[in-house]
């Protein structure tokens, strides 16, 4: 028997040795009844007795110094219970994205930064209190545009002006290189260069962030809107100066995350502090405008690519220079110094690469995890360029990609972590644990009717023109680094209840559904026989935050191990009942039976009767960190058919075919929903979403859903999703993880389809109607 490669600590569980009865089946989502009936309580729906309402005063300028702040009138307003500002919180630092920052600094570095927090008996009084706070600002000249900013030396800082991470990242090139870039360019038959820009974009979760903090003198309980309860527990403990074991974080339902709620954020710290000051529970809920202003969002990027290839289709060189607007803070977990270039390095085979990524600090909003944070901009540039390169050598873009598809990565470490070195020189070939990108590319293009590209191209003419395009992508999966080991626990009680305890949140991805499915499969019970406890640090051990599609990758093996251990103990109890040895037993559909004679069986409930009421059966699991090799990645390709109206500039997406390699889906129904959701993000990024700033003041102009245009039901096309499934022994039932990054290839696929329709390359996202009309008028003018 082959040695088990499952990523767990200690002894890997034995193989199941029977057909699957739960995993791979499209069970309905857990918690759906509560959601469709309105019974689900999200953090903003929670009201505790004696609860106060908190609000935040935010600075309206991107860069300013507080000359004077007077909170006296606000404090005197009847009903106001506490006002916090820099005056009464000197030296208070909160731990945000693992880096301590002043909670209320004297010098403001981005619009919307917090200046004061109030707690009052009702929301109207709180609002009035904010109006009564008198602040005098000295407005300083902000840094906005990356290239303009780079023309000048870094600003001398005033007062306590802080740009956390600046000393590590600001203007510093991070480089991945391989082979000899000059040689590669010289060897090429054709060299193509182009510059791509992508815009600032926002999560737009429909739930605005809300939290209720309650300090009872002993313990701080925070019902929050966050994707990770355990990382938030740590952050809250450090921020408030209390031991983490005295902090309990609870998230029962979450109204969308997409990275925006990766950690406890500042409102959680202010709410907690206000509760500790007043001795009463405090709720803070952000408005939609605050959501746009105070959310770490996606960076705007500019990527220059120079690519060389032989006429027969072999890539010889890729040079890339990526500039990233970091905003006012770039910390360990909200800026990824090599994320764009990691993807460029690994997606296609190329012997000579020189890739550099430069982050520049400005006074725009804080940045942070946003569904495929830098992957989507990076993949947009690379996959747009691949099409242009293919065109230049006269090759079909699909064939060109297939020709340069390879089975190894050249940079294996997670580009999301702080890199050890600023330059990675790699001549390595690190194998992937599994990869089926070529199959994804073939499937997606076949489904869209790839051969129509030629006729569409030939038929360019008339007002409405159709086109087809494709793009591919990859994403790194899982980390599991100590001390952030994912744990899972299973408990089987005398009364027959089986409970899975996991320290993660169901953010809408179906985490509450798929982990009990893994445990149920191992135990041989039906999923509905399992209870799951999640989203609460009180009852669970550490689990990762639901971001980077990591929980299935990181927690899956731990859940499997915990359930397998519980099954082993259960079989020890069942063995005497069935007159067999434990290793001769098997279970499924809630029955324990003898492998050699399945008719000799006993219901699992009957076995539970024999469990000591005082000593339930317990099984625990712990995930092992990713090894240095192989590399774990998911892959995929999307193909898009569009219709472009060249008179109005309107792009209608007619159809999208998406084929993804996630290993295997634990629950294909929920997995397909994730792909569709990612594509919505990709469609918005490609065509309509864009954070607009006043170029003089640096203020965000479109802080609402009317002007920040996320796709609606009318914009979303029919989407055909294909799961390309294959074994990957490192993960629970080969589930490598899915979800977050399914938006990554969408914008390039749409852009390449627009080219097929119009013969025009659009390199600046979003491709809005005015850009299309402008480009067509240019051509008419002979420009």
């Amino acid at each position: 028997m082959a040695e088990s490669k499952l990523l767990v600590q200690g002894t890997p569980p034995p193989p199941l040795e029977r057909e699957l009865t739960v995993v791979g089946r499209p069970f309905n989502r857990r918690g759906a009844v509560e959601r469709v009936t309105g019974q689900a309580k999200y953090s903003g729906d929670i009201r505790l007795p004696g609860m106060l309402y908190g609000m935040i005063l935010r600075c309206p300028h991107p860069r300013a110094r507080i000359v004077r702040i007077d909170t006296g009138q606000a404090q005197a307003l009847p009903g106001v219970k506490a006002v916090l500002s820099k005056e009464n919180t000197k030296g208070w630092r909160t731990q945000w994205y693992k880096v301590p920052q002043l909670a209320f600094p004297e010098c403001i570095t981005h619009e919307g930064q917090e200046v004061a927090a109030v707690a009052a008996e009702d929301i109207t009084i709180a609002q009035r209190a904010l109006e009564l706070i008198d602040v005098e600002y000295e407005i300083l000249t902000p840094m906005l545009d990356v290239e303009e900013t780079m023309k000048n030396p870094p600003l001398p800082l005033v007062a306590d002006e802080e740009y956390p991470g600046r000393e590590i990242y600001d203007r510093k090139p991070y480089v991945i290189k391989r082979g000899d870039i000059q040689k590669g360019l010289a060897e090429a038959d054709v060299v193509v260069e182009e510059t791509y820009t992508t815009q600032a974009s926002f999560h737009g979760t429909i739930q605005t962030r809300a939290c209720v903090a309650n300090w009872d003198g002993e313990t701080l309980t925070v019902c929050d809107a966050i994707q990770g309860v355990w990382n938030s527990k740590e952050a809250l403990g450090i921020s408030l100066g209390i031991p983490p074991e005295k902090v309990r974080v609870v998230v029962k339902y979450l109204g969308g995350g997409f990275g925006s709620k990766a950690w406890s954020q500042r409102i959680s710290f202010y709410a907690a502090k206000l509760s500790m000051v007043t001795g009463r529970p405090v709720r803070i809920e952000r408005s939609r405008a605050e959501e746009f202003l105070a959310h770490p969002r996606r960076w705007d990027c500019k990527m220059y690519i120079q690519m060389g290839a032989k006429r027969e289709g072999t890539l010889t060189a890729i040079y890339e220079r990526a500039l990233v607007n970091v905003g006012a803070a770039g910390l360990e977990t909200n800026y990824y110094a090599m994320q764009i270039i990691w993807h460029t390095a690994n997606l296609h085979a190329c012997p000579n690469v020189y890739l550099e990524q430069i982050g520049v600090f400005t006074n725009l909003q804080i940045n942070g995890p946003t569904r495929s944070p830098l992957n989507m901009p990076g993949i947009f540039a690379l996959e747009s360029h691949m099409d242009k390169m293919a065109e230049a050598i006269g090759m079909d873009p699909l064939e060109f990609r297939l020709k340069n598809c390879r089975d190894y990565a050249i940079v294996g470490s997670d580009a999301g972590e702080v890199p050890d070195a600023t330059v990675i020189e790699s001549e390595e070939e690190i194998p992937y644990s599994s990869k089926n990108l070529d199959e994804c590319m073939r499937l997606a293009t076949r489904a869209i009717g790839w051969e129509k590209r030629k006729s569409y191209r030939a038929a360019r003419g008339g007002a409405k023109r159709r086109g087809i395009g494709m793009a591919s992508y990859l994403t790194f999966q899982g980390v599991g680094l100590i001390p952030y080991t994912a744990y899972a626990d299973v408990e089987i009680k005398h009364d027959g209840t089986i409970t899975l305890f996991i320290g993660v949140v169901d953010i809408g991805g179906g985490q509450a559904t798929i982990f009990p499915m893994i445990a149920a499969e191992e135990l041989g019970v039906n999923p509905e026989d399992m209870t799951v406890v999640l989203g609460d640090t009180r009852d669970t051990r550490y689990g990762p935050s639901c971001q980077v599609s990591r929980v299935t990758a990181e927690l899956g093996p731990a859940v499997l191990q915990a359930a397998a251990e519980a099954r082993k103990r259960l079989f020890e109890v069942a063995a005497p009942i069935l007159g067999a040895r434990p290793e001769e037993l098997q279970s499924k559909y809630g029955q324990v039976y003898v492998k050699s004679n399945p008719w000799r069986s006993v219901p699992l409930k009957t076995v539970c009767d024999k469990i000591d009421p005082e000593v339930p059966i317990r099984g625990g699991g712990a995930r092992a960190p990713n090894p240095a090799t192989p590399t774990f990645s998911i892959f995929g390709a999307q193909a898009v058919e569009v219709e472009v109206d060249i008179e109005t500039g309107q792009v209608d997406i007619l159809r999208i075919a998406a084929a993804h390699d996630f290993g295997r889906a634990i629950n294909p129904k929920l997995c397909i929903s994730q792909v569709q959701g990612g594509i919505e993000f990709g469609v918005g990024f490609a065509l309509s979403e864009e954070g607009l700033y006043d170029p003089n003041t640096g203020k965000l102009l479109n802080k609402n859903f009317h002007q920040y245009k996320i796709p609606t039901a009318l914009d979303m096309p029919q989407i055909d999703v294909f799961l390309v499934e294959a074994e990957d022994p490192y993960f629970a039932y080969s589930a490598k993880g899915a979800g977050e990054n399914t938006n990554a290839p969408t914008p390039a696929a749409i852009r390449n389809a627009i080219y097929n329709a119009t013969g025009i390359w659009f390199n600046d996202l979003p491709t809005t109607p005015d850009k299309i009309i402008g480009a067509i008028q240019n051509i008419k003018k002979g420009g």
Binding site: N28, R29, G31, A32, V33, E34, R35, V36, T37, G38, Q39, A40, K41, Y42, G44, D45, R47, Q73, P78, T124, R128, L132, H203, G204, T205, I206, Q207, T208, Y253, L254, G255, G256, G257, F258, S287, R288, I507, G508, G509, G510, K669, I672, S673, Q674, Q676, G677, G678, I679, E680, N704, F705, H706, I710, P711, T712, A713, L714, M716, Q718, I719
Partner: protein, 171 residues
């Protein structure tokens, strides 16, 4: 407005029907219907995602028509019949066929837009029991879903429409 201003003069007594029950309350005139439902009646199934009539998560049905309850003042709802998501299940807690279809077709992920989405669609099915896919898309154009569940929402709605028509015929 000075901070000390007594707001009680701005209060008003209102009576309306919510989920089939008559409700009377004395409220601040500035209160929206959404705030009234959530804060005064505790009906938190009505969500507020933007508070300015853009996202649709606060949709309720007022006298048969879907409205954004964040842009209706509670005092405007006097004498009206309001249906919220809590009123959609019957007294035994049996789900409406559309709710069942949402679950079966996985027409939700985080679920935050779901109550408003369902109520917009219920209003559609009432005024048009045989909607086309285009009708369904138009009916929820004012309901944003960031999880991107639209295609499953289409499926669930069209399936429910067929089912409800069959149930009608069966009577």
């Amino acid at each position: 407005m000075p901070a000390s201003e007594n707001l009680s003069g701005r209060r008003k007594q209102i009576s309306l029907t919510v989920n089939g029950k008559s409700v009377t309350a004395e409220i601040d005139c500035r209160m929206t219907l959404a705030e009234f439902l959530r804060e005064e009646l505790g009906l938190t199934g009505t969500k507020v995602g933007c508070n300015r009539g853009e996202c649709g998560s606060c949709t309720v049905i007022m006298d048969g028509k879907p409205v954004y309850s964040c842009t209706v003042l509670a005092v405007e709802a006097v004498g009206k019949k309001i249906l919220t998501i809590e009123g959609l299940t019957d007294e035994e807690g049996k789900l409406h066929p559309l709710q069942e279809a949402f679950i079966e077709e996985d027409a939700l992920q985080c679920g935050y837009c779901t109550p408003g989405m369902i109520l917009s669609l219920i209003a559609l099915l009432h005024r048009n029991p045989h909607p086309t896919e285009g009708d369904v898309r138009n009916a929820i154009d004012g309901n944003l879903c960031r999880c991107g569940s639209f295609s499953n929402i289409m499926k669930a709605t069209l399936k429910t429409s067929e089912k409800m028509v069959e149930m009608e015929r069966g009577k």
